[in-house]
């Protein structure tokens, strides 16, 4: 395996972890685990917007990671 492929897979894995972490954080935010809503000053009105933002961030990261890990 050439070095570019190795780096690509490693970066893809890291991006996948970032994407998954974004989903976990969206879950924490929605359920206010560890008082995340208070720490980030997120009001109940804006909660869904922030959750959506993290989910979209996670989805896009995972989609991009997929291209890097399973390179054609």
């Amino acid at each position: 395996m050439d070095i570019r492929k190795t780096i690509t897979k490693a970066v893809g894995l890291a991006q996948g972890v970032v994407g998954a972490a974004s989903f976990v954080f969206a879950y924490f935010l929605y359920h206010n685990l560890f008082d995340v809503q208070v720490v980030l000053n997120v009001s109940a009105k804006d909660l869904f917007l922030y959750v959506l933002l993290f989910i979209v961030f996670g989805l896009l990261s995972l989609a991009s990671a997929r291209f890097l890990i399973f390179e054609e």
């Binding site: 690509t8 990261s61 991009s64 890097l68």
Partner: protein, 506 residues
Amino acid sequence: MKKVGLRRELGLLQATMIGIGGAIEAGIFVMLGHATGLAGTAVIIALLLCGVINMFTMCSYAELGAALPKAGGEYTFSKIAYGGFVSFLTGWFEWTSNMFYAALSAVGFAYIISYIVPVSSSAVPWIAIVIIAVFTVVNVRGVKEVGTSQVVMIGILLAILMLYVWSGFNSAQMRALEISAPTGPLGIVQATAYIFVVYLGAEAIAVAQAEVKDPGKTIPKAILLTGAALIVIYLLTAYVTLSIVPPETLRGQASPLIFAAKQTMGEIGMVILVIAGTVAALSSVNTAIMAQSRVAYALSRDGYFPKALLRIHGRFATPHVAVIVGAIFTGVLAATGVINFVGYATDFGFIIGFTLVNLSLIKLRREKPLLERPFKVPFYPYTPMAGIATSLFLLAFIEPGVLVLGVELILLAVLAYYIRMVGYHRIRIAFGGISLSLGGFAALTAYLIETGVVKLNGVDPSTTTAISNILLSASIIQTLAGILNVTAKPKPALKPWAPTSSKKKT
């Protein structure tokens, strides 16, 4: 290496049971009340009309299914007739409708069972997910298992419905039924449009046609038998129900059949009908999971969906990846509860599918007159034309909100189609650009936190710096990923094939 493909394992009985099981779902157990409110006892005429309308299109399914017995059902028909976006749209509606249908039926099962077992509202999605998981395993195990489980479930269901009809005819409460429509012909038309959904789903036979034995003979027989059996089952059930319970009482009932069974057989009747309702819901889940996977398989075969969905299980000879992927979407739909709204899209998708099948039949009769057709639609072209007209008529009576949802589904299909058509390399570059933007966004957020522009409540400075560093690391990863995706080389084009000389150099 031995090539693994779908096996022809479904006989006439199994194929017919797949059709009946696909159509009879919880709907008939709950919809008769409102339909009676619209048409009075003339709801029986509405049910008969629905059966006839259904038969127009079932004839088209029978002809095309016997002539083109490949996986995918109406998608395959429209692909051969029209190709391109029209066929993709047909497949898309077929795929999404079956997933919605499976999710609806799984949730319906949980609600019906709550008649006899206390089920909290929060437990409903979990029960639905368990049911979907169980039938996913059945579908992965093999099409023969799907067919056998359908035979058992529909056998139980038909036995219970026959018991219901028999006990109704022998009940002291049975009275002579007078057919009347208090709101006139318009009420019958409205009831027809409302209750037509109870006939939808029988076309699952066509979706599984690649796995039917002796397709030229079995497919038309199974489809037409299913259409006829549904008419008889629904008419008998409605006749008995209306003869026992007056229409004015019936229209207020959440489940008219269960209410009528309680009148004739007491509490045990209610329990038996609840069992029938749950079996009907389960058989619909089973059929819909099978149907969605075969459509996804066909779409993947033609390059519209990822190739992974084309994998066939070495031992069970089923498209297991397509089954599992569709089941995951179905589970999410069932768990989120949004299916109450999108469930209406099921009807829209099926009705659009009906129109496209009839159009495909007419086009293929004109353009491929020499295609071998073991079964031919009688009274051509009037039968498919009647199928198109009645499908469009049903669409006209559908709620405006559903039409909006249908348009949204079409837009989603356009997006999916063009993303696929754009090609792998361009999409990868696009995602590279998105990753660069995400990297920039994460870096900006890290900077704003570090400089105190964005303040975190009750967090000490060292933790703030740690959060900022995590964001910076994420930014670096996103930027690197963006660069790697944008600079990725396209796959080299295949060299044109050139014949090699068999002569040896001298």
